[in-house]
Amino acid sequence: MTQELTLSIVGSGGDGAVAAGDILSMACAREGLNVIKTEAYGPQIRGGESSATVRISTAPIYSQADALDALVVFNWADYARFRNELTPAPDAVVFYEEKDPPPAGLNARFFPIAFANAARDAGAPNGKNVLALGVLSAAFGLPQDALRAALRARFGKKTAAVVEGNIKAFDRGIEIGNEVAGSVKKFAYEKKAPKLVMSGNEASAVAAIDAGCRFFAGYPITPSSEILHFLSEWLPKIGGTCLQTEDELAALGAVVGASFSGVKSMTATSGPGLSLMAEMLGLSSMAEVPSVIVNVQRGGPSTGIPTKSEQSDLMHALFASHGDTPRAVIACSDVEDTYHATVDAFNIAEEFQMPVIVLSEQSIAQRRETISGDNLVHDVIDRQLANPEELKEFRRYRVTENGVSPMSVPGMAGGEYQTNGLEHDEQGRPNSMFVTHETMNAKRYRKLDALASKYRLFHRFGPETADLGIICWGSTAGVVREAVERLNQGDLRVAAFAPRMIMPLPVADLEKFIASCGELLVIELSYSKQFYQYLRTQVDLPKKTRVYARSGGKALGVSEIIEQCVAEVLA
């Protein structure tokens, strides 16, 4: 049977809560377990409250957990900030620094531990996080060898004294943990092949490299900067180029220039940056220069809540830029999906010569997840260049059946053309006649039709017909998936549909899904119901459709969804 365990460690900056989460995740990954690790921080730039939450399971998991089985609190003042996000399950175990008694009102089993003193006594003055790992491993039966190895790897560059001090703190933690071990449910598992631990941002970066991206330009912005960081390290190693630009207008500009010159190119940003890219996005679409933009959504509007997740850049991604501007938009539902979405984005950009926006979210971009390296495989489509036949009297914007025209790149003799943000004829020459404009609009939009029939990407969970159908997108799909699994264990038959391709939407598949369900519930993390609004532009939703939409800033929970489903059916 599936074994699951969710642990959270909360402390101040120096307490090492986040480091403990990393070490635990890595150890579990070595054992082949499934892990999703999230972090949260207070407003202080450094040294404020921080927490790491690790959900461990023997079965595949797709979301962070609703409730905690165990909580380590070094300081209750720090915990206060996360109270709404880190809720212990009713039978949860809480280990807390014994000097700091817990506040009233928390429903759990409490175990005071002298974390600071015990760690210091063991020889690791900064080792209370490691001691906590020992406690947790003993209490729940987590892999102690792997943890020890992970600790050694982590502290490998420090002095031997530091390493040994930490190992001793860990062992001391085990002793303490053993004392409570009897009273908690053990986590039992079989060791499997080791997994990788990766964040969504890292998955985007790796996918870009795999897809053949050799030029990246970006401007730092939370929560997408890790893509810039990773590619600034790795692209030069493989002969690629990474440029930090002066702003986002320049970032997408450089991408468009690099792509025009023949090299697959990408930028990454978050909402404010995507807003600044609106005009250049239009140029990429009009000039039919492939470009890939990874946009990691955070709380909006405006500067909003940079460190928290939301799904509210959707309408902007779909419709930003003046004029009729075709583009593709693709969503990511988890870290692995982010990898595939990013490769797909390159494939689509290159095949259909248009900008492609990958809509990621802080919640998956910055969480770390175990994935099997074997799954990081995806076909790559390379840019198709004009053939000698096409280069004769070359027409870069030739009107074709599917709208895709032959493309040349600098260096190709006979392929010389001028591209243009102005409306243009088949040769790229400015042209302001209505007929040209209508013809060219039609040509550019036909590419979306071709794309729609080739890329009918979506997730579908649950039975073939259902009492209740959920429509959702992005990270929400993971949570919904788990909710659907749980709900179908009861009487209710619930199915879910989550398009991966958002623009163009797999409309026929969605309509089929709608027809297969009784009630309908749209779920999203946008106050103004952006997804629901967009769906209505594409399909006729039955009158009875209900929408559960709220602001981001707090993770969507499986139980929250279950509640909504039950309410929907009872209503």
Partner: protein
Amino acid sequence: MSSCEFKFTPNEYKSDLKPVWCPGCGDFGVLNALYKALADLKCNPQDTVVVSGIGCSSRLPGYVETYGFNSLHGRALPIATGAKLASPNLNVIAVGGDGDGIAIGGNHFMHAARRNVDIAYIMMDNEIYGLTKGQAGPTTPTGDKTKSTMYGNPDAAIDPCALAISFGATWVARAFSGDIKGTVDLMKRAIQHRGFAFLNIISPCVTWRGDDLFKELRGKVKSLPHDHDPGSRRQAQNFTYEEEIVTTGVLYAVQHPTLLDEMGTIKAKASTSSATRSDILKVFAPRF
């Protein structure tokens, strides 16, 4: 066209598109100079990319039979930078107006110059917004009456060459589009310079600045004194913000590592450790 038939005469760089410019516009001189410069340097059309923004001047790429990119107002330089960095073998030339380069595109001018990107940037400076029918731009003299400054331009005019020098451009020159020979010569040197070369071409707008300006300018243009030391920033600045004369020539020229040089260094440093796909995945693996 395939390069073997190509004769490298100015005429062959002409596209079959007719310029939309007003009769007498200074930009014709710039265009003709560019044909000649490309021909003299035997630039292969297929390896040459001319990138522009938006404006009368920015229409230029369409008239040149190379690769061309008539992009967005103010964004020629980021696009040119991307093209050059990604495809270092290309000969990348950015062109555009004073408004394009110093008003809306001013930030990119600063950063392209300071990074010493390996491109030539040709500004066609007419001291006005031509295409939008005559509003003041950053090089419009203070006090001038224009469509948007009925009571006289309140802002200080910028000398693009002074700006380029302060931004860190490694090659800065001024030309006059009425002097095709001089312009050709400076264009060739701009294209050949290693690093960011900035060429400001005084290119009068006969429609919004008046027909007479062109004639008046002819009288004002002077070449740099022979003893000018283009290695001296200070000397170069002496020929900026001029009042009664317009000095043409290479005001400033130095050699610094270019952005491509820097990128080469980075790649060399980076490739000391191996980088196969499995090396990349190892970053994420529990290696213990």
